[in-house]
Symmetry: C2
Subunit: 296 residues, 2 copies
């Protein structure tokens, strides 16, 4: 496996101090060595944001939507706005330094920085992707789990940060452990008022007839970059697309359903809460071929 690459940004935000006034914009570090201070609020409070970006044959995919969502998460957490030019440069430098591979996973992380300092911390990490061919081709087993919130939570209680991609993902990890306990691979969260939301690290897309549907982001879910790419593709091949509230019954009675995410791409749901269901092999193959072939 090629060596992973770590690129530390000297000034991840123009509105904040650089780490070192004399340093270059980004510096390559050994990812096996420690790079984060124990007082960094990213680790002590999970107080930061991230994006995970697919890199196919050296091309960062959906880069601008990811950077836009990164900036949106920063706004929601009142972090200093990321300097997107500096991030683009660090991303391209990381890709340039990595040995060529068909699929890699790139992560951008921005934290509020060391407690008491005025400099946020930012880095880009890149490694070869895990092999997701089985999940893409054969599908995944999914359980629905209560997220504990009503669908109105983002409007009524924005401090709960639903819809921001934060480093505080302990709940998402615990939900995946609960799924494993139930013999499943992944999770779809539900609201207390009867809607389905998203996965811990993915967006839900379902097909009803000739229409692909995904739930609305104002339910406190992330705008899916991969879902957006899939909808563009679907429209180009004559499928309809819609964003609308979906119930567990809509999901159960759909003709096909996927959890879609940047690196695993479209994973068809072959079992829902213990009940086997058909996967749409042809459309899944077409979608994943399209996702992998994207040049931006």
């Amino acid at each position: 496996m090629p060596a992973p690459v770590l690129m530390l940004l000297n000034r991840p935000s123009l509105d904040a101090d650089p780490l070192d006034a004399a340093a270059p914009p980004h510096a390559s570090l050994d990812p096996r060595s420690p790079s984060v201070n124990v007082l960094d609020l990213g680790v002590t409070r999970g107080d930061g944001i991230f994006e995970t970006i697919s890199v196919a044959s050296g091309r960062p995919q959906a880069l601008e939507p990811h950077l836009a969502r990164f900036a949106r998460s920063a706004t929601m957490l009142e972090l200093p706005a990321p300097d997107l030019d500096a991030w683009r440069a660090a991303i391209l430098a990381a890709i340039d330094q990595h040995d060529p591979v068909p699929e890699a996973m790139l992560k951008t992380v921005l934290t509020r920085g060391v407690e008491g300092a005025s400099a946020p911390t930012g880095w880009v990490y890149l490694e070869q992707s895990a092999d997701f061919r089985a999940a893409r081709a054969e599908g995944i087993r999914v359980v629905t789990l209560d997220r504990g919130y009503p669908s109105t939570v983002q409007q009524s209680a924005p401090w709960l940060l639903q819809g921001a991609k934060t480093l505080s993902y302990a709940v998402n990890r615990a939900a995946l452990r609960e799924a494993a306990r139930r013999g499943a691979d992944d999770v779809i969260f539900t609201t207390t008022d009867g809607y389905v939301l998203e996965g811990p690290t993915s967006t839900l897309v379902l097909r009803a007839g000739r229409e692909l549907v995904t739930p609305p982001t104002d339910f406190g879910i992330l705008p899916g970059t991969t879902q957006a790419s899939i909808f563009e593709y679907a429209e180009s091949v004559g499928l309809a697309t819609a964003v609308k509230p979906l119930t567990p019954r809509d999901l159960a009675t759909s003709d096909a359903a996927w959890l879609v995410s940047s690196v695993r791409h479209a994973a068809p749901i072959r079992e829902l809460d213990g009940v086997a269901r058909d996967i749409d092999t042809a459309l899944t193959g077409d979608i994943n071929a399209h996702l992998l072939a994207r040049v931006t």
Copy 2:
């Protein structure tokens, strides 16, 4: 200000691999230098737990209750159980290395470790406390904010980790920013079904006549180590104590109320949702004198 102390544990859990088979149980590191790997799940996923312990004149206070809660949080997150003997030794070594000060803050952190490795990460950090005399004597302004969950959430959805002291504290930090926006210093979270819970980093205690009351932990709140010390003290001076569900109205009509926590101790609430209220100066002083004088 005396230099902070950082002590890295070589084997924070007996059930997991040590970082280095030949290393001593703990090692002192420079806290100004990076000590955490960018792939540590503590930073990428907020996947870890912590405790904050008051150290008064070199004595760690309520050490055993803190260690018991640390182990309880580990169980809730399915982390390898902390080796409490190793933690006690690292804590005492950190205190021993620190210049003597009247009040210090000690933090224990246990993360799931570097992704893909089988060794959790654990460290002890110690620094002189901030000066909380004003908060203790003059009190704090508090707002109530919706936590978004019903009081039954810990039972119905344990994967939401309510009641565990995790590193995923971005919501707690966002709530404190919302409080600041409303001209307040701190927060009391409320449930969707009409109860008050706790602060982002503190426990609520109120006085109704001759009784001190705190909400039940099965509402998904932390068992308060400082609240437990205060209740012991209260009983020793002839006050009654009770653990029971409390509504915002109970809070508003109480004779006195405090947010209590390990390092700030008892901060009397002098304003609630913009309404000034009396503080119980005498009892607050007695409680804080008792907390500071604890020898265990």
